[in-house]
Subunit: 198 residues, 2 copies
Amino acid sequence: MTTVSSSTRSRGNRRAEILDAAARLFAARGFHGVSIEDIGGAVGVSGPALYRHFNGKDALLSEMLLDVSSRLRESAGAVVTSASGPDETLDALLHVQITFAIEQPALITVHDRELGNVPEPQRRQIRRLQRLYVEEWVTVLAELHPECPAARLRAATHAAFGLLNSTPHSAGELPAQEMRPLLHAMARAAINAAVKDH
Amino acid sequence: MTTVSSSTRSRGNRRAEILDAAARLFAARGFHGVSIEDIGGAVGVSGPALYRHFNGKDALLSEMLLDVSSRLRESAGAVVTSASGPDETLDALLHVQITFAIEQPALITVHDRELGNVPEPQRRQIRRLQRLYVEEWVTVLAELHPECPAARLRAATHAAFGLLNSTPHSAGELPAQEMRPLLHAMARAAINAAVKDH
DNA sequence: TTCGGATGTTAGTCATCATTAACGAAATCG
DNA sequence: CGATTTCGTTAATGATGACTAACATCCGAA
């Protein structure tokens, strides 16, 4: 059979390298605050070399966000289908989001800031994935508290995301070992408070 | 006595109008994604007219962020000096932040995204005000839980801000009447969970 | 009424930047 | 060994955008 050619491997590596560097730069300075030259420079090549790997700056951002929202939704889907009970499922969802927020703070940042710069029709698809992800959470919360109106559950979910995605702001305050359970406990408590008495 | 001349009044209004429109645009598309023309257009004048009111785009952003961080710190200072007890003080701080987040979502958004685009030396001053604001929270939390390490309190504070500042994301999910107590309850519960057992 | 400042306007100017062109070297494959 | 693909490079090119200049207009005050 055909083995993975080294060209395929290096191409993939270079692409990933570029996506990674671009994510960091976009998170720090915003999509329009970063030039193609900047991104190329960050991976040791110069400017237009990027066009060997992506169709353009927009395509780069599109792929980045599509990848993030796919992975999040996929993880959430896996968690939900292998669920034992709603309570454990919620903990597992928290685990997914916390892992992502701690390990990929730049991607998380770009993910919730730069959707507006993605051109249609990718925009629509990313929106769809984001919505599905939120709905996984809302569904689990609704199982736990069927009497709570969906709008409230959705607002609570967004608030929980805001809490969890604060990691880029408190970078360095605490080691990940402590940050992880702290975020879990805070988010869990916040969600419980949100659905209490409804 | 000298009355406020109409020129002063209209100048102030126009300046405020510009800052308001610019905040909304910056929040939606990012600092570099908005042109001077865009901002002018949003208030019914065209492009270079802005230079009659601000020294440039950077100065506009600087003033916007300086104003926000001053107001937040000032409010927090007022709350803390007129405090009855740490518990009520924390509630009052929550009230301040929630009011701001609900009434000025665009400003809050710009405030925590665009500091990187403010030139020195204003950058330093805004940073200073932001830090002082955080420290007001940390001080109050430390009074409530002296055994909790400051780093953890700081991380918890940032997480609470993330939760409260999620309003732009859940815009329209709930009316402000419901959003307000929901955010208060969630943030309060999250903070309590953060300091428990420390 | 006349002067001056405040506030706009339109038409440059100069940088920056995304994108494309044209061209080279290294590696893969026949 | 060639030949083709892959991955880079350095120069255009064309748009966009911040900022400045030169020129109105309006309005309050002397």
